[in-house]
């Protein structure tokens, strides 16, 4: 018994000399950084540096002259001008806010419905999927303008005067207009949903079928299965889709605010110009971030049973880890003590020490 423990202690000592603690995690960190480095370089060059410079531009009044750029520091002047005296920006932002807040849920619910239908076992599923996805490509092209000019994007049934009349009667003007716009452009809104359908579908296919079986054996109805199994399982994808939709709507080149920014960017007037456009873009991005945060809060804020349980387990695990660390530390301390004592020659084996 004594010999074995001595041997083991010796072995541990030997191994300790060869392999340093934390080598694996360091190796992982290095390869991780190597893997991510192309992305980091790209991000610094084409995302972070432009972002910082555009913020600097936003604080300046820039005039592009034949000699070069002419900077004139104005501080927050651009921002106050946008928010207080620009006749177009604020109404556009309000329009954009209302229409986004309405169309994002519409698009996502529609996409989820379609994805669930396409997830059933039906014939011609492949062609259907193709058809649902393809409009996305068209929406970004020049075709869209042509189509909407010829009235192909509005349904006459939804376009009925009655609806827009009723809306404008009951709501103030700045709300009524975007809402009736949504009704008239229903088809266009639905055309945006291709990518969302794809993402939802891949999420739906990942859900374990046996969960539904178990639920059915326990007497769960389809409706309950949807709320208790499907939705919690694809929650992160709903968030992803909402973010994607918001970003897609806001970054679209046909978006009124983008057009406004572009126009300001290339206008040679004294007060507008690139600095002004940058400031506008920053305000606009802030609004977009707020919308995304709002949706994220709505979706991720409500915790269901699974998440509460998961949180509990995570907490327990954290506690366990802490105890394990504590024990490890104590062992290390004891080992050190043992070594010291051994050096002094007080005893020859671990058991004596104990």
């Amino acid at each position: 018994m004594k010999d074995i423990t001595v041997q083991r202690a010796a072995k541990v000592k030997k191994e300790k000399n060869k392999v340093k603690r934390g080598q694996l995690s360091r190796r992982k960190a290095i390869t991780g950084l190597i893997f991510v480095s192309p992305w980091i370089i790209g991000a610094i060059l084409f995302l972070i540096y432009p972002l910082v410079t555009s913020f600097w531009y936003a604080l300046n009044n820039i005039r592009i002259t034949p000699i070069g750029k002419n900077f004139n520091f104005v501080g927050t002047g651009n921002f106050t001008q946008i928010l207080l005296s620009d006749p177009e920006f604020i109404p556009h932002i309000v329009d954009y806010l209302v229409s986004t807040l309405i169309s994002v849920p519409v698009i996502n619910v529609f996409a989820l419905m379609i994805a669930m239908m396409l997830n059933q076992r039906i014939k011609f599923k492949g062609p259907f999927r193709l058809i649902f996805f393809l409009p996305v490509i068209i929406v970004s092209g020049p075709v869209m303008g042509m189509l909407s000019a010829e009235g192909a994007v509005s349904v006459s049934a939804l376009n009925a005067q009655a609806i827009s009349g009723a809306i404008s009667n009951f709501l103030p003007y700045y709300l009524a207009e975007p809402i009736s716009d949504i009704f008239t452009n229903m088809i266009m809104i639905l055309w945006y949903s291709g990518v969302q359908i794809l993402i939802f579908l891949s999420g739906l296919q990942k859900i374990d079928k046996s969960m539904y079986e178990a639920a059915k054996i326990d007497g769960g109805s389809q409706w309950e299965c949807f709320w208790k199994i499907t939705l919690p399982n694809i929650k992160s994808l709903i968030l992803l889709n909402c973010v994607y939709t918001v970003v897609y709507i806001s970054g679209n080149e046909s978006n009124a605010i983008i057009v406004l920014i572009q126009r300001a960017m290339f206008s040679g007037t004294k007060e507008k110009g690139y600095g002004y456009a940058s400031a506008m873009a920053w305000v606009y991005s802030l609004v977009v971030v707020l919308i995304v945060l709002l949706f994220a809060g709505l979706i991720m804020g409500r915790k269901d049973v699974y998440e509460r349980q998961a949180k509990k387990v995570r907490k327990q695990m954290k506690k366990d880890r802490r105890t394990a660390r504590k024990i490890e530390r104590r062992n290390a301390r004891n080992a050190r003590k043992f070594k010291k004592a051994e050096k002094k020659g007080k005893f020859t084996s671990y058991e004596d020490f104990e």
């Binding site: 991780g32 084409f46 972002l51 490509i137 092209g141 993402i199 579908l201 920014i261 991005s285």
Partner: protein, 289 residues
């Protein structure tokens, strides 16, 4: 449910399918409208293009629009094939590189632990939300400083990092079980090995989706041609098509625009048909639960 391989359509037409088909068919028709319209529009003769009320289906299909398009492009000095070549090179290289970078970054950000990981992810999330138009001039300055104006790299580099794609792919890599990766480590696999042999096959559907997203962004992008390219022979097909539509905004221009639209549209169709099997079917059998 039995393993059905890569066939997604059931063989038989059952009674239970009728209900869903009835629900979905009107929507399908609804969504198919623009596609049908584009195809029909390209083959319309002049009088039908301007008919009022506009007709949806073509009555007397002709190829006039396409011949006109070729004629116009011949007159402009630079052949159409040059633009097609440009666009193909740009798109292929961008998709390839950005998928490699995105998956590598997603694997690293999701499965390898190091300091600053969360910060990188947050930067990415901010980047998703920022308006791309606002950074176009700083980007131009960088491109000019690197001496890339009028080269293919000017097309490719700004589009390489697609934050949405990274976000999407990372969501999928997150779901690859840690146990599997640890098992591979124990068997002596290196990180790159794990990336290539384990992560890539498992997230194929996400890669296919990301490929479609990137393609769509690159293919329809006019910004790079607009801002970073002065030489006409280096511009992309999309830019050329768009300028045709704008420059020939006359009666004859309408037909040319319609034909151009169809030409722009076909690669999308082909790519999606090629990728869609991957998008949908690998997921169920890839071991991600």
């Amino acid at each position: 449910m039995a393993y059905r391989g890569s066939k997604i359509d059931p063989k038989k037409m059952g009674k239970d399918q009728v209900k869903i088909l009835l629900l979905i068919l009107p929507l399908v028709i609804f969504m198919a409208l623009p596609i049908v319209y584009i195809i029909n529009h390209a083959f319309k003769p002049m009088d039908e293009l301007f008919a009022f009320p506009p007709t949806f289906f073509v009555r007397r299909p002709t190829l006039d629009n396409f011949t006109n398009l070729i004629k116009v492009s011949r007159n402009s000095g630079i052949p159409l094939s040059r633009y097609i070549f440009n666009s193909f090179v740009i798109t292929l290289v961008t998709i390839g590189l950005s998928l490699v970078f995105t998956t590598l970054a997603a694997f690293s950000l999701s499965k390898l632990k190091y300091r600053g990981r969360n910060m990188l992810m947050q930067i990415n999330q901010i980047a998703i939300m920022f308006v791309a138009t606002a950074v176009s001039i700083p980007r131009y300055l960088i491109i000019a400083k690197l001496g890339l104006v009028d080269s293919y790299l000017a097309h490719i580099l700004p589009l390489l990092s697609v934050p949405v794609a990274l976000f999407l792919v990372k969501q999928f890599v997150d779901q690859v079980p840690q146990v599997l990766i640890e098992a591979a480590y124990i068997d002596g696999a290196s990180d790159f090995h794990i990336y290539r042999k384990l992560i890539i096959p498992m997230i194929k559907p996400a890669i296919a989706t990301a490929a479609i997203l990137v393609f769509q962004q690159v293919w329809t992008n006019m910004e790079t041609s607009n801002f970073y390219i002065n030489d006409d022979s280096m511009k992309s097909l999309t830019f050329y098509m768009n300028s045709l539509t704008n420059a020939n905004n006359t009666v004859a221009g309408q037909g040319i625009a319609a034909a151009a639209t169809l030409i722009m549209f076909i690669p999308n169709l082909v790519l999606f048909i090629l990728l869609q099997k991957n998008v949908m079917n690998t997921m169920a059998h890839s071991g991600i639960k």
